[in-house]
Symmetry: C2
Subunit: 260 residues, 2 copies
């Protein structure tokens, strides 16, 4: 078997999510069909993160096994050829040891949540950001966000459907920055990094941080929501359209062939 | 009559262009219908630039006259309400003197042409950039572009359908910059500024600058194409999807009520 890691970009708007489902097109199935189109093999494409319907990826990571001997460049070009015109593209590929696992070898995930903050609805970025017309204070959001960094029980920001064994996670980084774009309005970028996240964790962060940005909540209120360990104590879940999986990180060793 | 200037953002992908046409939906008609929906008046929305099918705008400028006495804020909110879910939004509005004309008062237009330069096709930016897989040298493109700045006969970069009286225009600025985005590939941004442009001028610049970026043309070749004053001497027309109208500029006086 030849294992390949692929880095995948996709527009989640028209997919039911990453994972194969009976009720509509998934990114995973689109990739599996493209691989079958290229080499006739029925493969499983295993992703590092199961993004929801409407969630995008700049750099999802996945792996797949081929019986065929081929180069990573060929895998990338051929899968892209067969993906057309799907809103999915393989932006990089490399051959990896059979011990590499896109999901289980990963030690870091990074996400971006984009808010467009202006009075006018979105024309060019519809489906690619959360439209928030109320003026938001990004500096206050950033300051409050620091109260979530570190190891905590994140039950307050965890969807009820979450299948993780424990609600305790270590959030490495949570930043909020603002980019001014003149008449196009400002973009508020929330960036989060951790080994792994709970289901809906970042969208729930975004929903609560918006309350801080509007001045409805203080940093103390956000901290109290965390400490309540109760989903009802935190803000609403922000829309999927604003969320992007931006990076999946691995230790160097994950790419090294081990003696066996 | 009450005249209003509106700044308009749109995604040109599903429009036949700015201008009202029999063969499909236009941005102009979408705006005129929204104004009618808001106040029942059949108005003409006059734009500063007639963008083609597939061309986008961050800040098109237009004006319209209403019999109704109302505020610019109301115009913006009401037109946006009636535009939904069109891929058009009014991002700013102001009341202007009746002497203001979106097209004839304008003294500056600025455009952005976006190229995504990477091997993988576009998943997230399909329809919003020109996908060029051949590696491009942005610094060489920028250097060559400087040979086009200034007053010239731009016949070589003018579409045969162009209705301008003269092919002589003064190009104030033409820059080429590159933004590296890691696995998402680099974006090459061509920015052009002039009082006005010929039909397809920027798309024709982009098509020729790509030849320079690929190393097929030198700066001297580009300059020779300009001097040939022959459309056949220059490169092909780049796709509409990469082009964005980013600014229309006016002199201060255009916004000042004159005694009459």
């Amino acid at each position: 078997m030849n294992r390949f890691q692929i880095i995948v970009e996709y527009d989640g708007s028209d997919f039911v999510g990453w994972q194969r489902q009976a009720n509509g097109p998934s990114v995973q199935a689109a990739l599996e069909q493209a691989v079958a189109g290229f080499c006739g093999e029925a493969v499983l494409v295993e992703g590092a993160g199961r993004t929801d319907a409407g969630v995008h990826a700049l750099a999802q990571s996945a792996h797949l096994d081929l019986a065929k001997e081929t180069s990573a460049d060929t895998v990338m070009a051929a899968v892209n050829f067969h993906l057309k015109p799907a809103a999915v593209a393989v932006v990089a590929a490399r051959q990896v040891p059979n011990s590499f696992h896109a999901r289980f070898s990963a030690i870091r995930r990074a996400y971006l949540y984009r808010i467009v903050n202006r009075r006018a609805p979105l024309a060019l970025e519809h489906g690619h950001a959360w439209f928030v017309p109320q003026p938001l204070d990004a500096a206050a959001m950033h300051e409050a966000a620091q109260g979530l960094v570190g190891q905590h029980d994140f039950t307050s920001f965890r969807a009820s459907e979450c299948q993780a064994k424990s609600p305790v996670k270590t959030l490495d980084r949570l930043t909020v920055t603002q980019v001014d774009r003149g008449p196009s309005g400002s973009v508020i970028e929330i960036r989060a990094r951790a080994r792994s996240f709970l289901y809906h964790q970042i969208r729930n962060f975004a929903g609560s941080l918006k309350l801080v940005g509007e001045g409805k909540w203080t940093a103390r209120d956000l901290r109290k929501a965390l400490e309540a360990r109760d989903r009802a104590a935190a803000g609403p879940t922000a829309p999927a359209a604003g969320l992007y999986l931006t990076e999946v990180g691995y230790p160097e060793e994950a790419f090294v062939e081990t003696e066996s």
